[in-house]
Symmetry: C2
Subunit: 342 residues, 2 copies
């Protein structure tokens, strides 16, 4: 049974495991610092489909099937599927995952979706409501650009605060097991806004939400940055990461040496022309599944805070002059034996 810690944090007393995970990417992701760690790379970003939107769904399907294969599970052994993406009406998830035939919960959390979906799956497993759940998300540079910004053919200029949407997907299966990594604690975020209105500066829009969730988690648990090997956010990029450090310092927490951001891990800013870094639901998903979780399995990092962040605007809301709300959901992942948790 779960235990409340403070006002916002939930201790998962049974500490469900991340049983299996898989990451799918395309050419630019393959060329990045963690390119060799993806389970599947398809250099043609159409993934054999007719449209970018179907390609994005296909990535989700491939990631989900790979995660199932790695766990030697069939779709029928997954009780519930939590998935979402950046597309209007999350069609990548609907069209990509429908053939799996798993009871489906559609989510929209923008780039926070990987945290949101894994947290929901793990809470459901913790509460004995399902024995296994799967969390899947994706983003695709081509489908996102034309929906949120400009048609690709237009060749619009990008300001240096802009981030580059990853063409990637990740899938995680959650269930009970004695094998780490475990999900020990979760902290679901609230919607925060600090009057940022610039559609090309998502990092600044999301950093206040990240700071809010992280501060609450530290307060609720009586811990601080020193208790963790790494605090991995996604995807604040360089601008948002700098802002998060400043905001946390005001709260009395120094993140230096502990903080990393998925948007700065997936791509090399010096050589890959991604401006402030990577973004998109698929960025945090891929860094979690291709980089962080394998490192935890190998024992390279043991106590980790993973916090995917989302910017909750739409092109319509921005055109109508509204500011950009942000959200951040945090999960504490651990490899230490369950008896020591709590």
């Amino acid at each position: 049974m779960a235990t409340n810690l403070g006002n916002y944090t939930l201790n998962l007393d049974t500490s469900p495991s991340l049983l299996s995970f898989a990451a799918v990417g395309s050419k630019k992701e393959a060329e990045g610092p963690i390119g060799k760690q993806f389970d599947i790379i398809n250099e043609d970003s159409l993934f054999g489909q007719k449209t970018w939107e179907l390609a994005e769904g296909q990535m989700q399907k491939i990631a989900a099937e790979k995660a199932l294969e790695k766990a030697a599970l069939s779709p029928g052994e997954i009780k519930m599927l939590f998935a979402g993406d950046l597309l209007n009406q999350i069609t990548a998830s609907h069209y990509g995952l429908r053939e799996l035939g798993i009871p489906f919960i559609g989510l929209y959390g923008a780039c926070s979706t990987m945290s949101q979906s894994v947290i929901l799956a793990s809470m459901m497993v913790e509460g004995g409501l399902i024995n296994r759940g799967m969390a899947v998300t994706s983003s695709h540079f081509c489908s996102a650009e034309r929906q949120y910004r400009f048609p690709l053919e237009y060749g619009g200029q990008r300001p240096p605060t802009a981030q580059w949407t990853a063409t990637a997907a990740g899938a995680v299966i959650v269930g009970q097991s004695s094998a780490p990594p475990y999900i020990r604690r979760v902290c679901v975020g609230t919607i925060e806004n600090k009057n940022v209105k610039d559609l090309t500066n998502m990092g600044a829009a999301m950093a206040p939400a990240a700071a809010q969730t992280l501060s609450r988690f530290f307060a609720d648990t009586g811990t601080g940055p020193d208790n963790y090997d790494v605090i991995l956010t996604g995807d604040l990029g360089q601008v948002g990461s700098d802002l998060l450090s400043q905001l946390m310092e005001r709260e009395g927490y120094k993140l230096e040496g502990k903080h990393a951001d998925c948007g700065l891990i997936l791509f090399d800013r010096d050589t890959q022309k991604v401006d402030a870094g990577g973004s998109g639901c698929g960025c945090a998903a891929a860094v979690l599944c291709a980089y962080l979780l394998p490192a935890m399995r190998k024992g390279k990092v043991n106590e980790v805070l993973f916090m995917a962040t989302g910017a909750l605007m739409s092109p319509t809301s921005v055109q109508q002059g509204q500011d950009i709300p942000g959200i951040a959901h945090l999960m504490h992942l651990s490899t230490s034996p369950k008896a020591g948790g709590g």
Copy 2:
């Protein structure tokens, strides 16, 4: 602790209660058959806002605040908020509910959102993960028409299979209580598709999903239509309702005299020019909160299946020639004492 019934149905052994609920509507909804039962009617569908999108968010906020007021609860006493709507990036929910400051899970289930959100909240309460959850959704005729079909000013003709998007919102608070109505069982749907491609015939797109979920629930529980006072779907409209009856008859279940549809309750097809009936997340939400749940509290109906249905396409997916997948999530609501449940 929840118990699995068959492959798809979950018995909520503690049978959480729908503690409080509220419905908000506008002029056309007020003129309909259940118009006098709304908690709040605002005849000006702008709800004091500058845009239809903000108006829709405002409806959600008003519904949520009314549900809180009726339960004498503050936002801080709700552990988690499950909300979504039809707008791109569910901005009605994000902008409308952000001031509540409740940990937020954004959902996209199209018109199935009311079932989806109440089911998630009740599962979380059942599992002891939260003590109270709130489920909120909405739709707005003006924001939906311009996003999904044509600008209002264009005055496009509507075929008779079309449904009329409700301008309405509903909010439900779920928690443990000895007072009915209770949520006894839930059945989360899978994504179904039968190659329907007509954006003006959502009923036909959703009926196969409704039939699938309902058949599974009957099989899992060993029950049939006779075990329930009413089976309320939303929003199949007239076309989808007829199709559901036919599909269920093939499975050996006669729905006659038991089935009703939210889209045919909210509006009067004979006098209100809504073609095949009402639709939109707000339709099922309003009929649940203004009509069904008050009737259960008064003991007029006691064993109810409520199944909101969603069409999971986007305008982009339809323009690209894709078919329209549907989904339906079912919950069994009951007023009979908890000891008799299970």
